[in-house]
Symmetry: C2
Subunit: 255 residues, 2 copies
């Protein structure tokens, strides 16, 4: 069933009725061609989801009201809040990273300007790029049955994100751990044990050229935990997917 994320202000009359307008109205009425009596899923901003039944559809005002049928009690969010900070990669890789990260349970995404990012974001074009990523996150949230849409931050620096007031643990994917060293400093399994029971975890991923030695030193000095992601060298757009898959497995699929 089609899923829509509806602002809390639109849940009215003691939560008995829901006002839907704008893009969602257009999608329901013109794209899905739904009519009164059809059912959708609506999520509020408190990560609660409901089956809603379409009621009055006002084509002239571009608004519709739906009534709450029942609460769904879905449980599709990771128990730990995972943020991904990604060194700006080339091409349209951010689209893939945000789409797949959303499917895999990421809660926020931070584009990072890093030493080896070949791409630089023009300040003027930034809002457009961020809007595009927000749209991708919204669509992926609907498709993957999320209860929230991951927050897309504006461009930040490594110094901005290494902040233990905002995160309980910070992990950096380090290819230095994968390349050459037969005995990694620490198994990823040990890191997974460390994040269990935490609230807010940040994953930092370098761009195509990887994290620079200077950035890695900065991370390590600050207490960021380096992680090896298997024995092979992963592309930048694969690294966060690997970590999010492993986090889902550790927290949702393991006793």
């Amino acid at each position: 069933m089609q899923r829509y994320f509806i602002p809390n202000d639109n849940w009215i009359y003691d939560n008995q009725s829901v006002l839907i307008e704008g893009d969602d109205f257009h999608h329901i009425v013109n794209v899905m061609r739904m009519v009164s009596g059809d059912a959708i899923i609506g999520c509020n901003e408190n990560e609660q989801s409901y089956q809603l039944i379409l009621d009055q559809i006002d084509e002239s005002q571009k608004q519709l009201y739906a009534t709450i049928d029942y609460e769904l009690n879905e449980d599709t969010e990771l128990p730990v809040h995972i943020s991904v900070a990604q060194g700006l990669p080339k091409g349209d890789k951010l689209d893939t990273i945000v789409q797949k990260g959303t499917e895999l349970g990421m809660r926020s995404f931070i584009p990072l300007q890093m030493d080896r990012s070949i791409v630089k974001w023009d300040r003027k074009k930034q809002p457009k790029k961020i809007d595009r990523l927000k749209k991708i996150a919204k669509e992926a949230s609907e498709q993957s049955h999320r209860l929230m849409i991951p927050h897309i931050h504006s461009l930040q620096s490594l110094d901005d994100v290494i902040d233990f007031n905002h995160f309980d643990k910070i992990i950096v994917a380090s290819e230095y751990e994968a390349k050459g060293s037969h005995q990694p400093a620490r198994l990823l399994d040990d890191l997974m044990q460390l994040i269990k029971g935490q609230h807010r975890v940040l994953i930092i991923i370098g761009p195509e050229g990887g994290i620079s030695p200077h950035e890695l030193a900065k991370c390590e000095d600050a207490g960021v935990l380096p992680a090896r992601l298997g024995k092979r060298i992963l592309r930048t757009e694969t690294a966060s997917l690997y970590l999010l898959s492993v986090i889902s497995y550790s927290l949702e699929e393991t006793n």
Copy 2:
């Protein structure tokens, strides 16, 4: 350092010298613009890799000889042989699945014609499609430091691949396990314990519409193990990446 996969027949003079020709010659001489004395990595078909030093470059014959400097003793292959059978998806998703699967350690790939595959492969165009996937697997193997190039099979049916003479365990990603059911029949962790110490494991992934009830019943009757991949609904191209990441984690990053 650039990595090349060189047929065993080209390792000559008691393995002291290696003949490189064809596309690899072109890549070394014309793309990388390397000269005598430059070093490359060469892998033979026994999953051994060596540092090689370029020696005689014969532009007219489009051939070069390299001498073996030393063996590298790399260890970048998963201990279990993982094959991925993917229901034909739409668009260029197979490219992504083969590229990322190769990075994540997959050893062979089987395109599957399934009930809900919207795409049908024209018999005439099949060799061209397979060749394209082979090229993607080769490039991803070089980039991710693999010791072999995953084998790309021709199009098969579900009946073809459910064959316990070829595989010790077969897993099917089942969204029926993810949708709705709060208590999955079996945690993925239990499946991971089952594949430890096995030799050959097959992962079956449905196309966009998922595996059909008829196909799922066929799998279950045959003893194929259904797996839930976290609590969210993953797109078809994300499912094998999730499983391969978790397999790498379980076998390479866990004590």
